[in-house]
Symmetry: C2
């Protein structure tokens, strides 16, 4: 770590928000991700996407998760004491993410809990939301991440 992180467990409060994005999503990115991880036709081909429930060349839901994660890294995690996360409470792909869309949103702290076993660690529950350029909700995710306390790094 080259500098002391700005955000430790103690610095986060319920109701606090961090901006996510904007992230422009290209057809090339959609196809590259899908070719490796999710080769369903609606994620690989414009015509197949149009013929599907999704209505166009659409990002794999897992690609949306991965793009969300990059936005969370950029806005908070890389300048924090994040120690990863044990899992995801839920994820909802509310609307298709189509080639050409621009995603933005926010990460909101909804709960904080210090670890009982490890006093220098705390769990931070976030609700994340992403919208497209028309303001339509496309993605929701709730998860709890683990962060070191400021004591642990000072």
């Amino acid at each position: 770590m080259t500098k002391t992180p700005t955000w430790a467990f103690d610095d986060l409060a319920v109701g606090q928000t961090f901006a996510l994005g904007p992230k422009h999503v290209t057809a090339g990115e959609i196809v590259a991700f899908a070719s490796e991880f999710d080769m369903q036709p609606m994620h690989l081909d414009e015509e197949a996407g149009k013929a599907s429930l999704l209505g166009g060349l659409a990002a794999s839901g897992w690609h949306t998760c991965a793009m969300f994660m990059r936005m969370a890294c950029d806005t908070l995690l890389l300048d924090s004491t994040s120690q990863g996360a044990p899992g995801v409470e839920y994820a909802r792909w509310r609307r298709p993410v189509l080639a050409g869309d621009t995603l933005s949103g926010e990460a909101e702290v909804i709960a904080l809990r210090r670890s009982e076993k490890r006093p220098q660690l705390g769990y931070v529950t976030f609700r994340h939301r992403l919208r497209n350029q028309r303001g339509e909700l496309v993605f929701e995710l709730e998860h709890a991440g683990m962060f070191l306390t400021r004591d642990a790094i000072s």
Copy 2:
């Protein structure tokens, strides 16, 4: 679609399982995914991984999700009437996925529900599990996917 898919909604039954993997996970794959989507040090560097809770160069949890999805495509989805999924009920990263690990597991059908609004569509709830080469559970995921009925494609 070049052939009629083997698996439609009607062909799936509660308790049925599909094998996932094996998938060998390389350091190069871990770093490539993390460089694009999750640049936390424990996903980019062996030493940083060893110094972290994860104990070594470890795949991003989202990379594990993406690798799971590829296994699900290979075992079932690409030869099915899958129409995607509205979300994830939960995901648990139970243990780190480290460079050199080999993942395998199963997708189990745990519930089936025909859509009320769209009689030619059904929801299939799966519980997915992945283990490493030591048989340790590393990943669990529950989600409901949408599949067309056989009527819809015949």
